[in-house]
Symmetry: C2
Subunit: 571 residues, 2 copies
Amino acid sequence: MPPNYAAPSRLLARWENFCLLTNRTRPRRCPCQQISRPAALRNSFHSQASPKSKPRVQWATLASRSAVLVGLAIGSLQLFNETPSDRSHKKTTDSKIKTFRLAEVRQHDGSSQNPWVIRGTSVYDITDWIAAHPGGDVILTAAGGSLEPFWDIFTIHKRPDVYEILEEYKIGVIDEADLQDGRVPQGAILDPFQNDPERDARLITLTACPRNAETPRDGLKDFITSNELFYVRNHFWVPAVKGEDHEINIEMVDGTERTYTVKELKERFPRHKITTTLQCAGNRRKSMTDAAGTTKGLQWKAGAISTAEWEGVRLVDVLADAGLSLDQLPDDAQHVQFSAMEAYGASIPIRKAIDPWGDVLLAFSMNGVELPRDHGYPVRVIVPGTVAARSVKWLSQITISPDESPTQWQQRDYKSFCPSEVNNPRWERARSIQEMPVTSAITHVEVPRKDEGNGLGTILAEGYAYSGGGREIIRVDVSADGGRTWHEAELLDDRARVKGNRAWCWKRWRYRGPMPDDRTDSVSKCTRLVVKATDEAYNTQPQTHESIFNARGNLATAWDCAEVSSVTADT
Amino acid sequence: MPPNYAAPSRLLARWENFCLLTNRTRPRRCPCQQISRPAALRNSFHSQASPKSKPRVQWATLASRSAVLVGLAIGSLQLFNETPSDRSHKKTTDSKIKTFRLAEVRQHDGSSQNPWVIRGTSVYDITDWIAAHPGGDVILTAAGGSLEPFWDIFTIHKRPDVYEILEEYKIGVIDEADLQDGRVPQGAILDPFQNDPERDARLITLTACPRNAETPRDGLKDFITSNELFYVRNHFWVPAVKGEDHEINIEMVDGTERTYTVKELKERFPRHKITTTLQCAGNRRKSMTDAAGTTKGLQWKAGAISTAEWEGVRLVDVLADAGLSLDQLPDDAQHVQFSAMEAYGASIPIRKAIDPWGDVLLAFSMNGVELPRDHGYPVRVIVPGTVAARSVKWLSQITISPDESPTQWQQRDYKSFCPSEVNNPRWERARSIQEMPVTSAITHVEVPRKDEGNGLGTILAEGYAYSGGGREIIRVDVSADGGRTWHEAELLDDRARVKGNRAWCWKRWRYRGPMPDDRTDSVSKCTRLVVKATDEAYNTQPQTHESIFNARGNLATAWDCAEVSSVTADT
């Protein structure tokens, strides 16, 4: 049976209360708290000092804000740079301290008043630490077992000074009877990914834990991507949830709350279907890396993009039901923050959320079936036209706020910068990515056959083009000579815009043209096939990745290109 | 007293009716009708064949559609290629035909049942011609006087075969008593531009008649452009109008109509102020011409853009009052067509018109004073975030329609194309420009002084950046070495987005940085200063004009650049 990961906000609130009620002194800070974070979050601790006054910071906001530190702690850049194999620890040698059986530790899980964790063979009572650890809610998921699989994700903790802090909470060691070869056996330690779903083997895996995998060419060639081939972008494990009893809590700027079960959402609000493309901000990052230098993040090729039909209820309907006055929006209702069950969080501007043509859904189904677990079961947000990072999966909390989500994924990861800031991006100054810029990609090129066309062969190429904000792709230009001359490609999809809606979907394109006579490289008989798309606002793609190069490798939207050789056609 | 240019729709309808009622045979066609035009317009003639059945085409739509031929007739490309001095005509030698005094001709003006015109010294009764001349409403403005000043605008008529058609309607010549040196004296001929307003001499004039003039640097350096320095883009003369009694007719898709005087609009609807930048689709066309080859159209530098505060009433409020159901839009209410008093027309998608945050105004005032005549007095449309060509001035007619405006300015002029279509643009396939893509310009560079910076001098540069659709400019990057390395410029305007609104305005920027050591051209001591802007959807500008080169030279949004020399700093 999967572990019961309780809603983070509730747990955090409980522990913050616990700390206040017991008047415990604040323990030493975890390093993830020393990272720059929003003033609102820092203030939230001060506001707790007087428990009888109305807290100035909403509880749920505090909970969602907690994710910022979790997020910052992740150091997602490190996540993919460090190997998860650093699991050997110095054995505790102090023979005077108590010993505990694993069974006893397991009782001190996230639901216990005194949560314990294991690191190596040592046992720690982290009750006090949690109160000052805004990522406490996630720490609790490790309670009753080992911290280490989590710190393999939140790698910022894997430092001597953190180990030193942890040692202050040590209460004993695991009984020798439960050790194998001096270690806690693998099966006895909670692996947060152990309940991740099975995936289609055709997906191109970038990382297994958390699961990140792109859509193969087979998936990119259809307008609708099958659920099995839809790209997967997970920041953590896949939460195990209660299905229709799962609750989504909604908190207004005045602190009033309303909670809906998934079942209620399905029964009480009109259903809507929206077909939309979702695209990762890092799609085509590898092409930027290849062209312009090292970038940090998953090295996606062109498959971090897919299209599906989603069914759910309109966010705006639910927000109105929960008490948001659409006609008279409160001045400080500027953003809608979403928190996921695992720890992820992001936000969108309120305007997008309540735009009558914004089509933001709380979605239950994908291409006609229940949401797959990898894609947010039982409920996720779908924000058409916006970077997929805002379409939060496994939704547990919605908070109306004057501020953007304080998480790392809103404040840092999904931004872009001036090329000059490659070594020192000014995270706080850059705008978080919302609507996506226009892009396109070549997904398939057929080798020219000499018996066609001008004798040099005919190039056949296929791909997709997409733009954010509901801006329809109106033209795709292809050049077979590196950008000197251009030809209009055939656009295949007339379903990109459903009548009356904005254009939320990609368009696939096809090009067929002669191998140019004056190939750019006559020795290798190669030519450079280049593609660029134009959307209905006549925005088009930048020519090179160099001009948009950024530390995160985000929005790698330069002209896509492929070397086409006729050499093989000679054989 | 200025001539009374009656509303085109009424006149055209009257003449079409006249033709039907008198059952006249259709006269030979004017060449402007032989130009490709929308099927709807062609059909409109057939639908008149059975006058008792309800006309399938709305009268007002027909009227506004008439403008397409006027527009097509203009051949605006020719407008600026031909000189307006071709005014000598062969004198009529037929001594048997009647003579008329000028005073008599003047009585056959646009309000007459039998309008006459003069060409050379000949007099023509064009009553029959008008019925088959969908540009008839404009021909009527010439009635009672000479055609020639109008054909200097609608240059497509200046062809032997048109002269031949016209000869069929000849009824006589002007009496010798009214001629000077054998010609109708200049003062006796209506000059449609004679009532154009005085303009500020600092405006940079591209054409005088019609008036097209760009904002000088003095106007570009302020956030708000003064009315005097606001760029002027007129397609015709400036209509003389009745002020507050001027009527705007609104026609729904079902043919129902509602007419408002300007006075009524002002009194009956809430007033709103919107500050927005307006930009011509051809802004910076000259830079495209210089970089990539000949383009057709006014060769604007970077001054076909300005910003003002407009006050008026919301279009959506007026449309709702006129009977448009906002909650249950008719399926065929897809576009809102605007017709001007002179002949100009354009349309916007209905979504933009009724978007609660679309901020489309019917504006009466500009920067706190009554609309100047050059800018649309007494009422114009303001469509923030959209190409200025849709912000129709001297508004007389609004038509809700399933179709875009059939005018040349919607169907042809304001579009862009694949670079391959430079000689044969497929007008009908291209999307008409609405939201503008991101752009920027350098408006001022100071010569580096050697006594500053690294010894080579400090470059000081200023300019603006703008994007359409309400997308705020979030970053301007400047390169002092032709695009190899980039630096973020300082953004000066925090008024680009009024809280809660979309960002309708440009941002001015300023850059200060050292003259690079490794100047791209060490002989001339020059370097290439380059600027590119990024908007909140992270769209950015194309690198070169070559890649977006189009027959019309529209949307010349490539990186702007300026050669900077330190030579003068040595002196």
